[in-house]
């Protein structure tokens, strides 16, 4: 099944996701074609209900498309078995959700090490990697705190660290700043920028134009289809604070 398709990290062709039947048929994603080169930060923007979250779930193997093809690092993923999809989510994809989706009963470091444990890493290696990642996101001193003891921004940074636990090929973020105030938003965006600089491929879904402006490329979505695809110039240029209105 494995086929090499140019140098795109992520590629989709004729992607469709439908719900319901006949009169009640809803096309959440309607014939989308997409190429995301390795190392690119792509922002997908659009109003609520336009299908951007559904698109993200399809790209990350959380849901199966009604039609179309998805390729990740040259491997077609839309026809994978359930077990193959699980392995894909475990090893190749990192998710960041708007609602954080942390386990309430686990500490920050336990949340971050969980994907590594699911991947069969040794507890020692998983803990070491989690500690490094928490240090990287600036939460080394909060490692033993429960999510309920962390602020929204801190929780999202834990979620980002968790997404990186198995060094994924791509990180998919669904409204990562949707529940955060401006200051926490800045923290998270700075984190994404550092990932971008480290060559991490990122797809960020958002309805906030200021967040979208930090990406390399912006795709606008409406009624399940792409309506615009714009290449932005040079990312944020270290002007994140100004972009989100915290500076000057």
């Amino acid at each position: 099944m494995s086929q090499t398709v140019n140098e795109s990290m992520l590629r989709a062709r004729g992607l469709r996701k439908e719900y319901g039947r006949e009169a009640s048929l809803v096309r959440a994603v309607d014939g989308v074609d997409l190429d995301v080169p390795a190392g690119e930060t792509l922002a997908v923007m659009g109003p609520s209900g336009c299908g951007k979250s559904t698109l993200l779930h399809l790209l990350g193997g959380l849901d199966r498309p009604s039609a179309g093809e998805i390729w990740l690092a040259g491997q077609r993923i839309d026809q994978m078995s359930e077990r193959g999809m699980a392995a894909l989510r475990r090893d190749a994809v990192g998710f960041v959700f708007q609602a954080f989706h942390l386990m309430d009963e686990l500490t920050a470091v336990e949340n971050v090490e969980l994907p590594a444990l699911l991947a069969g890493r040794s507890p020692r290696a998983a803990r070491q990697r989690a500690t490094e990642l928490l240090d990287q996101v600036g939460l080394a001193d909060r490692a033993r705190h429960l999510p309920s003891q962390l602020s929204g921004g801190q929780r999202q940074r834990v979620a980002v660290a968790r997404a990186l636990a198995n060094a994924p090929l791509i990180v998919l973020a669904d409204e990562p700043t949707g529940n955060l105030d401006s200051e926490a938003t800045l923290d998270v965006l700075q984190l994404f920028e550092s990932l971008h600089e480290a060559g991490q491929t990122l797809v960020i879904v958002t309805h906030d134009a200021r967040i979208a402006a930090t990406a390399d490329r912006l795709i606008s979505m409406r009624d399940g289809a792409f309506v615009d695809d714009t290449r932005l110039t040079g990312g944020t240029g270290n002007k994140l604070s100004a972009l989100i209105g915290l500076d000057g």
Binding site: S53, T54, H57, L62, D63, E82, R83, A86, A87, R89, R90, D91, F95, F97, Q98, A99, H101, M103, D104, E105, L106, E110, E113, L114, P115, L117, L118, A119, G120, P123, A126, R127, L146, S148, R162, N166
Partner: protein
């Protein structure tokens, strides 16, 4: 009054809104109530059949064993056994008893010969009474089929004949002499097979087996007096005699026997008297009446602990089902408080539902138990007549209702009062109950394979549910191990000695089978309910694990592991509890331990059953798309 009516209406509406849960609760409490009712209804059920048997046989008020020669011990007993009294002494004893104050009629003395009865490959010891061919006036056994004794023709007591599987016309041998079964009869002047040893200890063998004859207790038969003498001669000549007495005041039979006992202190066992030879041993009819109830008493010994085990299981079921409902009630509590409901009113609404279900279950249990009781209250083949409808007294009904209410309220009262005390705003927000954190378990689970890691962490999230699961399995395994201990004891003490079917054991086996099926059914119900509750509660954790890379199979196996791990603990705890329960219920002086193989099969079988029962809801719960659940939980 209007407030009470409102509480009942609200409770009724909620029951109708969740009919399946209500039905399961009803089922669980009804099973316990019905079993308890049957156990309580067995009180005194043999009284009527014994009286009827006594009336139609003109049963003796006192049975006297004379002569003292322990008939059966001569079969292989120690040679040092003192020789029996001579005929003259027996005649003197019989005459003295017949003329004693208060004695109005008598029959006998009759010779009792110890015999080895063989039919086909079966063999058993028996006490054979030599009697006249014309039925005696006092204590004439009532024929249920065939005819009375004749030369070469033996009449067998009905429970003994049933155990041997013989009927009228069949050929048997007694001490090697051929006999034909002339009739089958019942008597009120002895205890039916296999409890004849209760009659008078002196008649029973001190050691088993004798003459290589397997024995679980002697049976009873009647032959003509010449045949009995021949049997006694064939047995070495040692013999005992029995005399039947009627008193002017039958109710005073015990007093008569006791007075005799006082006059002759060594009443319990025949001992040699310097002038009178061996003293007679007297048994009043009340003792036979009591011993006739042994069959049913054994059933009660099975049913009563069985009912308590079922009540415990029902309590676990209620805790799981109603506990889950209490969690669903959070928003309702908020709404009731928002419209002015006091904490007492809110608690009343939450409890009324379970009280109504408990009362309905108690009524259903009483009805089922009362209707089913006649099926298990047959007095046995040793007596004639039916016990009639079992007594359903106010006390019995009160006990059953109290147990049903206790089962329903024990596990729901605390959550109800806790819910009533929560803040209105908090309840309206309907926040999910925060999971518990057990750091030790979380750390330990990190070293385990993914399904066990996930399962152990689910256990750590809801330890109380895990404890309930463990208790439920412990109760079931306790019951199953008690049954195994029963069979182990039966094999050790009965099966080794005889191939004859034992009516007491057979009845106990039937009771145990019913109780075991009920226990297993309730336990299966508990396992499914607990698994469902876990699946629902772990919805977010499950989809998150899948989003992070766990496969559906791993998550399903983890959900099953969350049930199997407590079940393993419960199964292990259930083994000593089961052995202890059997020892306590059977009043056995020693402990019967089932075979290790059986215990291993029980534990493994329990774990496989729990895993299989929980895999179904686990797989169904796991099928929901990850994206959909994450969206909903956001």
């Amino acid at each position: 009054m209007s407030k009470l009516w409102l509480i009942c209406r609200l409770a009724g509406r909620d029951i109708r809104r969740r009919p399946v849960q209500a039905a399961l609760l009803l089922l669980a409490i009804t099973a316990a109530s019905a079993t308890l009712t049957m156990g309580l209804a067995l009180r005194g059920v043999t009284h009527h059949p014994y009286q009827r048997t006594r009336a139609i046989t003109n049963g003796a008020d006192v049975v006297a064993q004379l002569g003292g020669g322990p008939a059966l011990t001569t079969l292989g007993g120690p040679k040092s056994t003192p020789p029996p009294n001579g005929t003259k002494q027996v005649t003197a004893q019989a005459r003295a008893l017949a003329g004693a104050p208060g004695v109005t009629e008598h029959s006998g003395p009759y010779l009792v010969a110890g015999a080895v009865l063989r039919v086909g490959k079966l063999a058993s010891t028996a006490q054979i009474i030599g009697t006249s061919q014309v039925p005696a006036t006092v204590n004439h056994p009532a024929l249920t089929t065939g005819s009375w004794v004749r030369p070469g023709g033996v009449v067998l007591e009905r429970t003994f004949a049933d155990a041997l599987g013989v009927g009228v016309g069949d050929r048997i041998t007694l001490n090697g002499r051929p006999f034909r079964v002339a009739g089958i009869a019942v008597t009120a002047a002895s205890t039916p097979y296999p409890n004849l040893c209760f009659w008078a200890s002196a008649f029973c063998p001190a050691s088993l087996p004798t003459h290589n004859v397997p024995d679980s207790g002697p049976g009873l038969g009647w032959v003509t007096q010449p045949d009995a003498r021949l049997l006694a001669v064939a047995d070495g000549g040692a013999s005992a005699y029995v005399e039947y007495l009627k008193l002017s005041d039958p109710a005073n039979a015990q007093v008569f026997a006791t007075a005799f006992d006082r006059a002759h202190p060594a009443f319990e066992r025949p001992i040699e008297h310097p002038e009178f030879g061996f003293l007679p041993s007297l048994t009043p009819w009340q003792q036979f009446a009591t011993e006739a109830g042994l069959l049913v008493q054994d059933e009660q010994q099975v049913l009563t602990p069985g009912a308590w085990l079922l009540a415990l299981l029902a309590m676990a079921s209620v805790a799981v089902l109603a506990g889950g409902r209490m969690a669903e009630h959070t928003r309702r509590v908020g709404l009731l408080k928002a419209v002015g409901g006091t904490p007492g009113f809110v608690a009343g609404v939450l409890l009324a539902e379970n009280v109504l279900l408990a009362l309905a279950s108690a009524a259903a249990g009483l009805a089922i138990g009362w209707l089913a009781a006649p099926l298990i209250t047959s007095p046995g083949a040793g007596l004639v007549g039916a016990p009639g409808a079992p007594s359903l007294t106010v006390l019995t009904a009160g006990e059953v209702v109290a147990v049903a209410l206790a089962v329903a309220l024990a596990s729901t009262a605390l959550p109800a009062f806790r819910a009533a005390r929560t803040s209105t705003v908090g309840a309206l927000a309907d926040a999910a109950r925060a999971p518990r954190r057990r750091a030790v378990l979380i750390r330990a689970s990190a070293r385990l394979p993914v399904p066990l890691l996930f399962g152990l962490r689910l256990v750590a999230r809801r330890p109380r549910r895990a404890i309930l699961g463990a208790v439920s399995i412990a109760v079931t395994v306790t019951g199953v191990v008690a049954v195994l201990a029963f069979h182990a004891q039966a094999d050790q003490h009965i099966g080794r000695y005889t191939e004859l079917s034992n009516p007491v054991v057979s009845r106990d086996e039937q009771m145990l089978l019913v109780i075991t099926i009920a226990l297993l059914a309730l336990s299966a119900l508990n396992a499914i309910c607990t698994a469902w509750a876990t699946v629902l509660d772990a919805r977010h954790a499950s989809v998150l694990a899948r989003a992070l890379g766990a496969s559906l199979r791993q998550v399903s196996a983890g959900l099953a592991a969350a049930q199997v791990l407590p079940a393993l603990l419960g199964a292990i705890i259930g083994i000593p509890l089961g052995i202890g329960l059997f020892a306590a219920a059977s009043h056995a002086g020693h402990v019967s331990v089932p075979g290790v193989g059986w215990l291993i099969v029980t534990v493994l079988g329990t774990l496989v059953a729990v895993a299989a029962l929980t895999m179904i809801p686990a797989r169904m719960g796991g099928r929901r798309p990850v994206a959909e659940v994450l969206r909903r939980e956001a």
